[in-house]
């Protein structure tokens, strides 16, 4: 084994490492961050062992840093993810994905009779319960579970 060439996933010089992604959410995270349209060097790994999650995914993106707004988008699919910000091969900052108290324009309301599904307008949710992941539509006032959401 030892003489086999190690498959080198290059250490990042500058960029972002997203860790602790639940395996079944990995590709949702990819699309939420629009990684499929990104030119940077991207490494995507899945089904690694994780004490917390059982299985986890990891994404490394070279030369790209995300805004807090972009990061908060991720909270609806994977609230416990960690982002490591790498500069000059060093982790200079760790960011935890936290569920914001409000979500605008990210999640679709699952009530077909909600005005947001019938009018060209932005959706708006209040996070009613962070622990239980309950979102409440600002308009129709219906509650929905974060596990059942559809993204816009």
């Amino acid at each position: 084994m030892s003489n086999k060439k190690e498959l080198q996933v290059a250490a990042l010089e500058n960029g972002t490492v997203i860790d602790h992604i639940p395996s079944d959410k990995l590709f949702t995270v990819v699309s939420l961050l629009d990684l499929q349209h990104m030119d940077s060097n991207i490494t995507i790994g899945n089904n690694f062992e994780s004490k917390k999650l059982g299985k986890k995914g990891i994404i490394k993106i070279a030369g790209r840093f995300f805004t807090d707004e972009e990061i908060s988008r991720l909270s609806v699919v994977a609230p416990n993810m960690k982002l490591n910000i790498i500069r000059n091969y060093e982790v200079v900052e760790k960011k935890e994905v936290v569920m914001p108290s409000e979500l605008k324009g990210i999640v679709k309301c699952n009530n077909p009779k909600c005005i947001t599904n019938n009018e060209p307008m932005q959706t708006w949710f209040h996070v009613a319960d962070k622990e239980q992941g309950i979102l409440k539509c600002h308009y129709c006032e219906k509650e929905q579970q974060v596990d059942n959401i559809k993204l816009i």
Binding site: K113, I115, E119, M121, Y139, E141
Partner: protein, 317 residues
Amino acid sequence: MENRSLVTIANHSKERILYLLEMAQEFEKKPNRHLLDQRIVATLFFEPSTRTRLSFETAANRLGAKVIGFTDPKVTSSSKGETLKDTIMMVSNYADIIVMRHYLEGAARYASEIAPVPIVNAGDGANQHPSQTMLDLYSIYKTQGTLENLNIYLVGDLKYGRTVHSLLMAMRHFNPTFHFIAPNELKMPEEYKLYCKEHHIHYEEHSDFNEETIANADILYMTRVQRERFTDLMEYERVKDVYILHNKMLEHTRPNLRILHPLPRVNEIAYDVDNNPKAYYFQQAQNGLYAREAILCDVLGITLDEVKADTNRIMNL
């Protein structure tokens, strides 16, 4: 400018509710005022509702306002695909206040965020219907002399009944005891029972509806059990006659008991109840006029003191 729209009263404080009820009381003393002279009230009914519309238009007329609007969305541009936003922005150019009924939930909230004039929600789908709740509260207050410590029995469709849900939430300030009387398919949803627990509202559930169940009621709030709500029509056939109030059931009820119903009724209150002094549903509808006069004034920034001053002026004439 502060947006004074009325979208819901679910978050109204106790003081705010009592303030609006006191204002309604002033309008009951004297319904015809000139408080809204020179003002234009638009009533936009994207979904027909004759009862609510007539009540709002009467309130506007009795306050001296002029009324414009539509009663049937088929004749408006929304049938041509115009967005709600465009309709609201257009009407805001003409009217000082917009009263709207819409079949979509959240429509009034959205309208209140984009309109430069105040919006009054006259019902948005299954969501909110605050003027109905106000008139229900006013009817309870007027007939019982208080809103505190009452036994309120909600009967019929407690699952889809928007009015019972709003009433339940608005009563949280007043230490009520609720009794939920409904067939299994139309039981009070879990979220509202949870709401009761969170707000320390005592409640009991019953599936039978008879003289004994309602013996201690102060308020009996009847609603319609609709056939289309049932997935199991056998179940509907079984329960459809169970939740009907007959006059003979009222014999041993409390003297202060009053029977409310948001109307229209179909057969859930037998006609022999109408002549019983405990029947209150027609006066309840009349109270809607006073509640809506108060709502129209409040959203335009007319205060209780101004209404009272006007009462005094009129009384002294």
